[in-house]
Symmetry: C3
Subunit: 166 residues, 3 copies
Amino acid sequence: MIRLVVFLWFVLVSFELLCQDKIRSSVKRYVKVPAGYLMVLRQNDRVLEQLENFARVENIPAASFTGMGFVDITFGFFDFQTRKYAPRDFKSVELVSMHGTIAWKKDSTSIHAHGVVSDNTFQAFGGHILNATVGTGSVEILITVHDKQFERTKDDAIGADVLSLD
Amino acid sequence: MIRLVVFLWFVLVSFELLCQDKIRSSVKRYVKVPAGYLMVLRQNDRVLEQLENFARVENIPAASFTGMGFVDITFGFFDFQTRKYAPRDFKSVELVSMHGTIAWKKDSTSIHAHGVVSDNTFQAFGGHILNATVGTGSVEILITVHDKQFERTKDDAIGADVLSLD
Amino acid sequence: MIRLVVFLWFVLVSFELLCQDKIRSSVKRYVKVPAGYLMVLRQNDRVLEQLENFARVENIPAASFTGMGFVDITFGFFDFQTRKYAPRDFKSVELVSMHGTIAWKKDSTSIHAHGVVSDNTFQAFGGHILNATVGTGSVEILITVHDKQFERTKDDAIGADVLSLD
């Protein structure tokens, strides 16, 4: 009898957690506006993955975006010697500026984004965004959609990908 | 006789000052452009109040904006313990980046804006804008207008307002 | 005979270098998109000059722009005493944010742009852009075109040019 009660209680709690999670993730992340889309990301959303997912689902040929919010973020500075990004994490910071573009690299969406962040000292840090997750707040992004598909291709002169307009 | 002259002189000067003030404040602060509005604020204009006033007068359902200029500004960092913003003032600084949104909270316009500033050392500081006044220069803002009304509502998970797309 | 070979070799090499240069400079720098234009600048391109050239060639009445990339840049802070810009150079830095406007001053295009940069320490610096050249990377700019011509005129109250909306 006790086992049955515990089991039913467990089922109920699991169900409620699932529902909460479903409600949370079912909240709309973007809506169509004349310029393109307005995106609002919520706590624990991963910014680059949400933008990639959006581009795939909405079949976006290319876009430019600007935004701001509150995040945990990893910047990387490209080292041309090692050809790798030296990363640095910033936790629980205001995202005071974000600029980026959505394009394609072969069959995958390719996000290129730069950000500026600040903490309770207000000192600003910035860089190429390797990773960003929404903190105790939100991230608001205006996505201006283009009508042509643009690819990132390697510019041999610099050995790095550049957005091609051809 | 002398009293009359002094009185008339006083009336004239007051009238001229009133006119100058009227000319200054009658200079257009924004014009309609295809994307929405281009706003140019002048010395001593209060940035957030001008955006609120614009939204009310033009009956804007919602908007995203970007801008830059020269300001006296107060940033605040939200302390989740005290639930207050710890403020810091920056005087006579370049506003090198501003990103924000205009939405509604019940019957009032609600501005959310982040900025980055720098002084004669070029070191950058940024944060959530609590207050900003145009300094010896201007502030130029591109306002991209949306066609739906968006509300800021409390996200209980984080205890802060979030722009709702529903 | 040897003289002839050397001469022909010289002609060939010169021709090839010319061709490479032509291919490089013939790569499209901007394309029309619904919001206006998407511009992608390449290594060694001068940012302000490319924007001025674009405005002249495409007969742009006025525009607002946002962008990001990788640059060598010179910021200036206006000294109201000397009425000159105190400059400072930053080499091989991420351009993490750029905001600006294209307008006219008499018969010339007039660019006003502010930027934020960061290096491998991720510390951010910002200011009024006096000069910027694309480094080992690119600069991506979204140009939102307006349908009215705007002039920069002197605001006598502050002794500096302000974008006029009249």
